[in-house]
Subunit: 468 residues, 2 copies
C-alpha cells in the first residue's frame, strides 16, 4: 500500500488546465506539497499549470508508482488498462458514475476489478475523494484547492471514510475551529479493491497515526475487520451510517453498500475494543480526546474516579450527573487534598467534590492567588483521583486559567484533564487554539466532555486485562 | 411580580464607587439601560457614578418599587426590615452567605422569611444574580458590566435558572455565538420566597416570552409547578441538576436543594408536556428551535414526515438514522416532487429521500441553476412532507444557500426547515448570524438538529389532542 501513501511519481489521467474542473484541482493540490514528480496526462495539452503534460500513460517517465484517474466513468476501464500496461502499482480512481448510479455503472465497476485481477495492481475507489496526508502535505484529491489556503492542522488522527464530505468540507470545519489535527484522511468510495481493512492494516503500523476513526456504510470483510481491530493497540472509533432500516436503504443508493444488521455488528465491534460513534462531530471529539491522552498507568482496580473543578455550582452538579451516567465515579478527596483546599476556600465553605472554585476566586480577588492552579495541583496529587474535569469561563481576567501551567501539571501528574469551556466567542477560540497546541481537550458541552473522558479512561481496562 | 420586572424606581443597598465590587457593577448595569430612577444607598458617599447617593432607604424619594440588596449576609436582615419600613414591594437579595453555607446561613435565611411574613413584600433570592431583561435593557444584576459591552441579543426565550453561571457567563457564550436571542433571564438562587412557580406564572402571560427554559435543582412546590406547566400554552424546557445520586448530593451543597427522585419528577413533567433537557447547550438548542418555529397546522395523522436535502450522501444517511431514532419518518416523495427533482438531477440519478443534491449541483455548475432553491421549493410543496432537514456547506460560492430565499419559502409553506451546517469558521459564523436574524435554526451536529426538530414537531400532538 505504500505506493498510495508515499509514491515515487504520480500521473494524473484527466488533468486539465480549466481551473473550474476537478482535473485541474488535482494538479494544484499535488503541487501544494507533494515533493515527487507530477505527470499530467492529456493528449490535448503540452503543459498544464506549468508542468510538462504527457499524451498517454505510456509516455510518462519513471519512476511513477501511482496514477490518479479522473475521467468520465466510461473512459476509466481503458485508463486502468493503460496503468496495467505501464506497470503502475497503484490506481486511485476518483471519478463517480459506477455502482452508485445503477446497474450500468455497476457493470463498469466490475470490469475494473477484472482488469487488475491477478496483476497485483491495486485500485483505490472509484467514486472517492482520494487521500489527504496533512503531516506530509500530500493532497491526492480533487477537493477544492481553496481548502488548503488557510493551512491544515497536522496531528495524529487518521480517518478512513466512505464519504467525500468527511474528507473535505467537514475537515475544513474541524480544522478551522482548531478542534483537531489530522494525520491522514482516506476517502474509500465504492471499494472495488482497496477497502477499510487494507487501510486499517496500514494505519496500525503507521508511526504518524495514534488514533484511527472510520465512517463506514458497510463491512464487506467483516471477519478480517474484526481481527484487525482486536490486534490493533491504537484506539479505533467507528461511525456506521445506515444503523436504521431507512438509513441502510439510503446507504445502498449512496455507495451501493449492503449495510447489514447493525446491532449484531455493533456488538462484535464493542467486543473487539472498538469505540462506537453516532455522529460526525462526536466521532471527531472521541478521536481527538483519545489522540491527546497520554498512555495511562494501569489501574489498581476498575474504578475511574473523577474530580470536578468548576466555577459554577450548577455546572458542577450537571457534570456530576453525566459522570455518573458514564459509569465513572466522583472521587472522594483525601484528607491532604481537603486540607489544601480548605486553605484556599473561604472559612464557611465545606470541601466536597464537585469543587466549586468561585467562592475561593472571589475571596482571593485582591491577593492575586491563582486559585485554579493551586486547586488543580492539590487534586492532581491526590492518589484517589484518576482524572480531572475542569470548568472554565474565558473572558474574565481575574479567574483566567493558565493553560501552560495546566499542561505542566498534567505532565507531572500523568492524569488526564478535560476542560468544559464557556466564554465570549473570540476569547473562547483563542483558548481552544492554545489548548490544542498543548494537547488539552476542550469541549463546549458537559455531556460530550464526560462521554469522551469515559472513552479515554475505559481504554485502560482493555489494555490491562488482568484488571478485574 | 411586576415591581420586579418593571419597577418605578430602584434602590441599591450596598452601592459603592469601587469599580472592582459588585455593588458598583449593579449601578453601572442599571445605568446601562434602565429608564427609571436609580437610588444608590450608602451612608458613606454623596454621589456614586454621578448619581445622588442616599444615606438610608428611608431617605430615598418616591417612587421606588424595588430594592436590590448586595451587602454581607449578616447585614441583610436589617436591610430587609428597612425595605419593609419604607414600603418597598420587591426586595431582590443578591448577596450569598445563606443556606448554601451551612446552618448559620440557613438561620439568617429563615429570618428573612419571618421579616416579610404577612407584609405582602416579596423577596427574590438570596444568593442569586438577579434579573436580566434583554428586550427592555434592564440589568438588575451584579454581573460583570463588560458582559454588556458587545450588546445582548434580544429574543423571545425567557430563562429561570437556579445558577448564577447560566444567567451570566453562559449567556455571553450563547449570545456571542449568535445562537439565540433572549427575552429575560431570572436567577432565583435560594428561593426563600419567589420561586420558579411565581416566575413561570409571570412568563405565561408575558407577551415578550414565547418559550420558557428552566434550570432547576429542586421543585419545592411540585404540584403547583405541574399545574402551571399543564395550563401553559408556551413550550417549557426543563434541565434538572441532580438527576443522579451524586449530583443530588452536590445540589444540596450548592443551593441547599433537596433534589427528590428524578425519575418520578421526570415522568410527571413529561405528562404535563414539559420537554426535558440534559445539558446546558442542548437546553438552549431546544429553546431556540421552539422559539423560531411558527405555530404549525394540526396534523391529519400522527406521522411527522421529514425530507432530507443534503450535499453529502454520508450525512444524509446519518441524518436518516437520527430521524428514525427520534421517532420521525422519512417522507415518501409525491410523484410531482419526483418529477420536479428529476428535471434537476443528472439522468442516472434515482430520486429518493434523503435527497443528495451534490450530483445536481455539479451537473448545473455551468448554467447557474440554483439547485438548492428549486429542490427546496419542490419538497416544501409536497403534501407528504411535514418538515425539511437541510444540510449545507458554507464556503463554496457555487453551492451557496440563499437564506433570504429560504426564509421566504419557509414562510410560504408554513413548514419548519432545520439546517445542519459545516464550513470554515468565519463563513459559518456569518451564516449563523444571518440565519438567526431570519429565525432559521442552524446546528453543527446532525443528532442535535434531529432531536430539536422532533421537539418542534411533537408539540403539534400536545396541542391537538384530538389527533390519534
Amino acid at each position: 500500500m505504500n505506493f498510495f501513501f508515499d509514491p515515487r511519481g504520480v500521473a494524473v489521467v484527466g488533468a486539465t488546465p480549466n481551473p473550474l474542473k476537478g482535473g485541474n484541482a488535482l494538479i494544484k493540490n499535488l503541487m501544494h506539497g507533494y515533493r515527487g514528480e507530477i505527470y499530467p496526462v492529456n493528449p490535448r495539452y503540452d503543459r498544464i499549470n506549468g508542468l510538462a503534460c504527457y499524451p498517454s500513460l505510456g509516455a510518462v517517465p519513471d519512476p511513477v508508482d501511482m496514477a490518479i484517474v479522473f475521467v468520465p466513468a466510461p473512459a476509466v476501464p481503458a485508463a486502468v488498462e493503460a496503468c496495467a500496461a505501464r506497470g503502475i502499482a497503484g490506481v486511485m480512481i476518483e471519478s463517480g458514475g459506477f455502482a452508485e448510479t445503477g446497474t450500468e455503472g455497476a457493470g463498469l465497476q466490475r470490469k475494473l476489478g477484472e482488469i487488475v485481477a491477478g496483476t497485483g495492481i491495486r485500485i483505490w475507489g472509484p467514486n472517492c475523494m482520494g487521500l489527504v496526508d496533512v503531516v506530509n502535505s500530500r493532497i491526492f484529491s480533487f477537493m477544492d484547492p481553496q481548502s488548503t489556503e488557510q493551512g491544515f492542522l497536522p496531528g495524529s488522527v487518521s480517518l478512513i471514510v466512505q464519504s467525500g464530505m468527511l474528507s473535505a468540507s467537514f475537515l475544513i470545519d474541524v480544522m478551522s475551529q482548531a478542534l483537531m489535527g489530522i494525520s491522514k484522511v482516506c476517502s474509500v468510495g465504492n471499494k472495488v479493491d482497496v477497502n477499510e481493512c487494507d487501510l486499517l492494516e496500514y494505519f496500525i503500523s503507521d508511526p504518524d497515526t495514534r488514533v484511527i476513526g472510520l465512517y463506514l456504510e458497510s463491512f464487506p470483510q467483516g471477519r478480517r475487520f474484526l481481527a484487525l481491530c482486536r490486534r490493533c493497540e491504537k484506539p479505533i472509533v467507528v461511525l456506521k451510517g445506515g444503523r436504521s432500516a431507512k438509513g441502510a436503504e439510503a446507504a445502498l443508493s449512496h455507495t451501493a453498500s449492503l449495510a447489514g444488521n447493525w446491532r449484531i455488528i455493533a456488538g462484535a465491534l464493542a467486543q473487539a475494543g472498538v469505540i462506537e460513534a453516532r455522529d460526525f462531530k462526536q466521532m471527531i471529539d472521541l478521536c481527538r480526546s483519545l489522540a491527546m491522552a497520554e498512555p495511562l498507568e494501569p489501574l489498581a482496580d476498575s474504578r475511574e474516579r473523577v474530580a470536578i473543578l468548576t466555577f459554577s455550582g450548577g455546572s458542577g452538579i450537571v457534570a456530576a450527573d453525566f459522570i455518573d451516567e458514564q459509569g465513572l465515579e466522583l472521587a472522594d478527596l483525601s484528607e491532604g487534598t481537603r486540607t489544601a483546599l480548605r486553605d484556599i476556600f473561604p472559612a464557611w465553605m465545606p470541601v466536597s467534590n464537585p469543587i466549586d472554585l468561585w467562592p475561593a476566586v472571589e475571596s482571593h480577588m485582591g491577593d492575586g492567588m491563582d486559585v485554579y492552579s493551586r486547586s488543580l495541583e492539590a487534586v492532581l496529587a491526590d492518589p484517589g483521583v484518576d482524572a480531572v474535569f475542569l470548568h472554565t469561563f474565558t473572558g474574565h481576567s481575574r479567574s483566567r486559567l493558565d493553560l501552560a501551567v495546566l499542561a505542566r501539571l498534567i505532565r507531572e501528574a500523568g492524569k488526564p484533564v478535560f476542560i468544559w469551556q464557556v466564554g465570549r466567542r473570540e476569547s473562547a477560540f483563542a483558548f481552544q487554539q492554545e489548548a490544542l497546541s498543548l494537547a488539552i481537550p476542550v469541549f463546549s458541552e458537559i455531556g460530550r466532555a464526560a462521554e469522551c473522558l469515559a472513552a479515554v479512561l475505559h481504554r485502560r481496562r482493555r489494555h490491562h486485562p488482568s484488571t478485574p
